[in-house]
């Protein structure tokens, strides 16, 4: 019977393990995302660890991407490296954690990163879950039109026969439907479609996020971003875990200091210039954490 006993003990042990695992998993599931109990590291702790974990994108050039040598690059990364240098004395002490758009909040809430700098747009919904520092970039809508028939004011689009091209589901579509119901919209599903529609002359202009348009116009001669910025303005800022005021105020002071040496302009020149070209820094860059 010795064998039988062992078997039974084994069964009990194994089943307890399993119950434990599944039960924990399920109760966790209910707890959902409000894991506010999770702590974050103080600046002193970061210094002791000799590293700061910064969440960045790996596939969103030119903001955060991995180059063909496997190194992190981009506008966000450029600024993040400077943060690491000023906080811990060396930019190599930035440990980049590659995040994707949907889990940026979760990374902060579960203390898997110290700062998120992954082109994180400030929204009221996100503000409830994380703390945003001062912005380093701003975004708004833009309008691109052919050089032969430039659209330099939105009123021009109200004339009869002038169609405005938008992509379905974008904030630009919502904006025009709400604010300018008398402008005739031509809607497409894909980004590639809106651009070919403009080239074919099916519409007078495209309205979209200005960054997309600026980048496109740069590689398509004959088209210009004739209205570079209008409508609601979004900002992009570093974010820290809710309640991490120590790191938050350090970042804000840091951005102010960097503003004095025009560091964000330097970051723009080093990373975004290639894609957006010169002349759009004022539309995109926020220096010193303050929007004029």
């Amino acid at each position: 019977m010795g064998k039988g006993k062992k078997l039974i003990t084994g069964i009990i042990a194994a089943s307890m393990l399993l119950v434990g695992l599944t039960a924990c998993g399920n109760s966790d599931n209910n707890a959902g995302s409000n894991s506010s109990s999770s702590k974050f590291d103080s600046i002193e702790q970061l210094k002791k660890n000799g590293k700061i974990r910064i969440g960045v994108f790996a596939d969103k050039p030119p903001f955060g991407y991995v180059d063909s040598e496997g190194k992190n690059q981009g506008f966000d990364v450029y600024i993040a490296k400077r943060f690491a240098k000023d906080l811990l004395g060396d930019e190599s002490k930035a440990e980049f954690v590659l995040v994707d758009a949907a889990s940026r909040v979760a990374y902060l809430e579960s203390n898997k990163v110290d700062i998120i700098m992954a082109n994180f747009t400030v929204t009221d919904e996100r503000k409830e879950k994380v703390d945003f520092a001062s912005p380093y970039m701003k975004l708004s809508f833009g309008i691109v039109s052919p050089d032969s028939a430039p659209i330099t004011s939105i009123d021009q689009l109200k004339e009869k026969g002038q169609k405005l091209i938008v992509a379905k589901g974008t904030t630009a579509e919502t904006y025009f439907t709400k604010e300018y119901p008398d402008i005739e919209l031509l809607k497409f599903d894909q980004y590639t479609e809106i651009f070919s529609a403009l080239k074919d002359g099916r519409g007078a202009a495209i309205a979209n996020d200005n960054t997309e348009l600026i980048a496109w116009a740069k590689s398509n001669p004959g088209f210009t971003v004739s209205i570079p910025a209008f409508g609601g303005q979004d900002t992009i800022a570093p974010a820290v875990a809710k309640g991490n005021t120590e790191l938050l105020s350090w970042i804000n002071t840091e951005l102010e200091t960097l503003g004095k040496e025009k560091f964000i302009h330097e970051a723009y020149n080093a990373t975004l210039n290639e894609v957006y070209g010169e002349g759009y820094t004022d539309e995109l860059v926020v220096e010193g954490g303050k929007i004029e």
């Binding site: 064998k3 039988g4 084994g10 069964i11 194994a14 089943s15 399993l18 119950v19 695992l21 599944t22 924990c24 998993g25 399920n26 966790d28 599931n29 707890a31 959902g32 995302s33 894991s35 109990s37 999770s38 790996a58 596939d59 969103k60 050039p61 991407y65 991995v66 180059d67 063909s68 040598e69 496997g70 954690v97 590659l98 995040v99 994707d100 949907a102 889990s103 979760a106 990374y107 809430e109 579960s110 203390n111 898997k112 590689s219 894609v275």
Partner: protein
């Protein structure tokens, strides 16, 4: 065909990076399959034991993995479970944990199915010969059951290999993610790169999964004779 995009595969260290990513994929799947098989066989044996509460618990465990998507498990373990217990487990460890538990649940079901499908006379003959329960399993049931388990297990193994592509969402950089990084980097310069990169990844997955199905076919043939 100028600028077809295939050259993107060999730019910089892209090729090595893709292979490195494949290694991550293989590592996670291999470790998970091994752990999952060991736990799963144990679980399958337990599920044939004549105890209602035990069977119920194991059944619930299996259903938990069948009903809740693996992605949700990964999220729950990575973002809620580990901070709640104040242990910082890496994305890779989370992946191995979740895939092992999933593998154990499924292998357990396969083992149970194989054992239960044994004709009753096999058990009765065993008893008639005076074999103990242990001996019955060791000499009669398990050797026969293994043959019935094989197709299902290999199928599961290839499913695990393919499902590892979800781990990018908890920050593990495996072959698909590296492919996406390469594609996004060249989106303006080489817009057709995605065809080549995904094509290459297809071949890589094939190289991993094909030997598995070959292996299972060989065993099946061997045991037929």
């Amino acid at each position: 065909m100028p600028n077809s995009g295939i050259e993107v595969l060999f730019e910089g260290s892209n090729f090595e990076r893709l292979l490195g990513g494949l290694l991550v994929t293989i590592e996670i799947s291999f470790v998970s399959i091994v752990i999952g098989t060991v736990l799963g066989v144990l679980m399958g044996l337990l599920r044939t034991v004549n105890s209602r509460p035990l069977r119920l618990v194991l059944r619930l465990y299996l259903e938990a993995f069948r009903i809740i998507p693996i992605l949700v498990w990964l999220y729950v373990v990575h973002f809620s479970f580990s901070p709640m217990l104040h242990i910082d487990i890496s994305g890779g460890a989370t992946a191995i944990l979740v895939f092992s538990l999933w593998g154990a649940a499924e292998i357990g079901d396969i083992v149970r199915g194989a054992l239960e499908s044994m004709p009753k006379h096999q058990v009765e003959s065993g008893h008639a010969l005076g074999l103990s329960r242990g001996q019955l399993y060791r000499y009669i049931l398990i050797p026969q059951a293994v043959r019935r388990m094989l197709p299902g297990s290999i199928n599961l193994a290839t499913r695990i290999v393919k499902t590892t592509s979800l781990v990018v969402l908890i920050g593990v950089i495996e072959v698909v993610k590296i492919g996406q990084q390469i594609i996004e980097l060249g989106v303006i310069k080489a817009p057709n790169a995605s065809f080549w990169v995904y094509g290459f990844i297809f071949i890589l997955y094939f190289i991993v999964c094909y030997p598995l199905s070959r292996l299972s076919r060989r065993f099946e043939r061997k045991w037929q004779n």
